[in-house]
Amino acid sequence: MEWLPFSTAEWVAIRLSLRVATVAALTSLPLGILVAFVLARKRFPGKALVDAVVHLPLVLPPVVTGYILLMLFGRRAPIGAFLEQTLGIVFSFRWTGAALACAVMGFPLMVRAIRLTMEAIDPRHEQAAQTLGASPLWVFMTVTLPLAFPGVLAGIVLCFAKALGEFGATITFVANIPGETQTIPSAIYTYTQVPGGDEGALRLSVVAALISLCTLVVSELIARRTGRRGVNIE
């Protein structure tokens, strides 16, 4: 790949960014679907609060979100320490932490996308499935979720795109360690901080834009194949 105008460090950042974005988008998906479903369909006291918490990463400056993550998921922090001891999962200064930061930052977008499509589903479809013997869980799996597929897809795309661009929370939470936590945006930031780094910043920005273009094209193709009415089950 020498013919491509990227330094090794840049290649590392690109690969890492892809990994982080993919992991962030996919691992946050189950929780995203669950939260979206609860917000779309249930009424309970404190619902607005849950909604607000979900939106928090959007509302707070990324740096603040990064600090909060540090305070919760750092090695010395309550949840972080617990996870390390019980499951051996370490976030601090690892790419997993970058993925967590990206997932958190992308979460409001994902939840909203899924929620919107779920709210648009005609409840009579779910009623029809019920009369056919599907329990609420099965209705969710076989009707709600497939019909909400356009939203799920959009949620993945949004979270992925956000993860490609997320930088403030990531760098605050897990710093900017080449090969471990230096994603494309961190690398771009580094370039913008030095005089004459514009060219490198531009190069990587184009890469990020191209990756997102690919993602969009792919998602568009998937969406077209599955159609307006969500995923087709055979």
């Binding site: 200064f93 900017n176 030095v194």
Partner: protein, 240 residues
């Protein structure tokens, strides 16, 4: 802004100078009744904004490179430029840690870090990181230490990592370490281990505000010096 009232000075300053500059400006306003408006951001951002026509009167950079960059583009008046402040680089640890280590050529920093991290500004972009790399290189420990570096977007983030115990050590400015009670200075880097850490100040080319130069001079006044020193800065000899 009422008509007739003089236009306040718009001061583009590196974010790390915030506490000190705010205090000086408050003092100046008390004395002269004139206001200073600050826009704090990273030096790089400020420089680029001036390039695209920002109506700034004064520029204070935390980074020599961006001052030079601005000067090349004739954004600041070279004759007004002066390195008003100087800072020191220190090695820090969490306040409750017992780590003791003396900075010396070839000192066992890497061993002391262990599998933890050394937090500092990004050597490639953040000045504190650049100075840290220079110092560690000069002391002959950079190669061992560099894989354990956790570089951050700014010094404050590095400070937070150390304060929360995520990173065992950090290299930050003396001013930052002084203001953060949860960290403790382990040792100060010798002055010769890195280029002087200076903060260039200058009046911008675009400025039409006569107060700009006046306030710049005021920053060297004894009142200002007292404030700066209280914050942990050291004062540069005039004109260097």
């Amino acid at each position: 802004r009422a008509a007739g009232e003089p236009r306040p000075i718009l001061f583009f300053a590196a974010a790390s100078l915030q506490t000190a500059l705010n205090a000086v400006a408050a003092e100046w306003q008390r004395e002269t009744g004139k206001k200073v408006v600050f826009s704090y951001a990273a030096s790089s951002v400020l420089a680029r904004q001036m390039e695209s026509g920002a109506p700034a009167d004064l520029f204070a950079s935390a980074d020599l490179r961006w001052a030079d960059w601005s000067q090349e583009r004739k954004l600041i008046r070279p004759e007004t430029r002066r390195n008003l402040l100087e800072n020191r680089l220190v090695l820090i640890a969490a306040a409750n840690s017992g780590d003791q280590i003396r900075i010396a050529p070839g000192f066992a920093l890497a061993g002391a870090i262990g599998d933890s991290r050394l937090a500092t500004g990004d050597p490639a972009s953040v000045p504190a990181g650049t100075y840290a790399r220079e110092a560690l290189t000069k002391l002959g420990v950079w190669d061992q230490v560099s894989p354990r570096i956790a570089s951050t977007e700014n010094v404050r983030a590095a400070l937070a990592l150390v304060a929360r115990g995520e990173a065992r050590f950090g290299i930050v400015y003396a001013t930052d370490a002084k203001a953060e009670p949860r960290v403790r200075v382990v040792d100060t880097f010798p002055a010769g281990s890195h280029a002087p850490i200076v903060y260039p100040f200058a009046v911008t080319t675009a400025s039409t505000n006569p107060d700009a130069q006046v306030f710049l001079n005021y920053l060297a006044s004894p009142t200002a010096v007292r404030i700066f020193e209280a914050e942990g800065f050291t004062l540069q000899r005039r004109g260097s």
